[in-house]
Symmetry: C2
Subunit: 159 residues, 2 copies
């Protein structure tokens, strides 16, 4: 499958809220996102990686304008679900490489990560789908990140 | 934005390899995926959530047939990057709700998670994109998971 990279997308003004140390058993994610849906919180990414010792962490992003409202719901859920803690990062941006056939191209991911690494941009979170590789980074680095990824894939001018 | 759910997708025969406790600084992900790309490992999902105490975990999925090869590379990387450990789960499947406008629909996620919870299916990992919500679950549960998600969204017969 040929790689066709159509561009670099980005979102500024994000907050990432993480529920740390939730019990890793059925019903927890449903309860957490049920509460957020009830309050009509518009969520961006949802990320949960691997659990250890029966616990797991669940993060999600929201537009910064919704952070306060979302944080209150997350803190209430933290108590109800007996999670360990809620942390919030109000300084997050997302940068993504978008294209067809990306899913099976490990080297696209490796090149994207290397471009960020060469420019000393720390990758805080990663998610992928069939057509996109997304990284969460410091908001202050998003312009630089978009430029160095454009350069890496010779995509020409950023839109 | 109206929700248009086009279906439920799934992948069986996956293995999830997790590099635990990597230093959370620029260059680590680039080195790790650079090694995997060098050996032409075809990767499915990549997941990294929130770091704590300067460390983070990075997971990826591969087709089970590639697990042995990928695991050797991950174990070598674990030493080179001074990560804490590598764990592998050889019994993983992915189930996804796919559709337009999903990104901002917290209730689609809540409903998908609730359908799995009602049927006692544990959600082991979660990633989302603009058009898809994906969960990793036990492979033995994938048929049931597809069915209960179809029912939840009244999608009719599974393809
Ligand atoms: C952690 C959380 O996702 C849990 N495993 C669940 O199924 O709800
Ligand atoms: C953990 C790893 O992603 C690291 N933060 C990096 O940028 O490479």
């Amino acid at each position: 499958e040929d790689i066709v990279i159509s561009g670099v997308a980005y979102n500024r003004n994000l907050s990432k809220i993480s529920l740390l140390g939730v019990p890793d058993r059925p019903g927890i994610a449903a309860e957490f996102f049920g509460r957020l849906a009830e309050h009509h919180i518009v969520i961006g990414m949802i990320i949960q990686n691997v659990g250890t010792h029966g616990l797991n962490d669940i993060s999600f992003t929201v537009d910064r304008a919704e952070e306060k409202k979302a944080l209150k719901i997350a803190r209430d859920a933290c108590k109800a679900l007996k999670a360990k803690d809620v942390i919030v990062d109000s300084n997050v941006a997302k940068v993504s490489v978008v294209g067809v056939g990306i899913k099976s191209h490990t080297e696209v991911a490796a090149r994207m990560f290397a471009a960020l690494a060469r420019n000393n941009i720390n990758i805080e979170s990663i998610t992928t789908s069939e057509i996109r590789i997304s990284c969460l980074i410091r908001e202050s680095e998003v312009d630089r990140a978009v430029k160095v990824i454009h350069d890496e894939f010779a995509l020409g001018e950023a839109a």
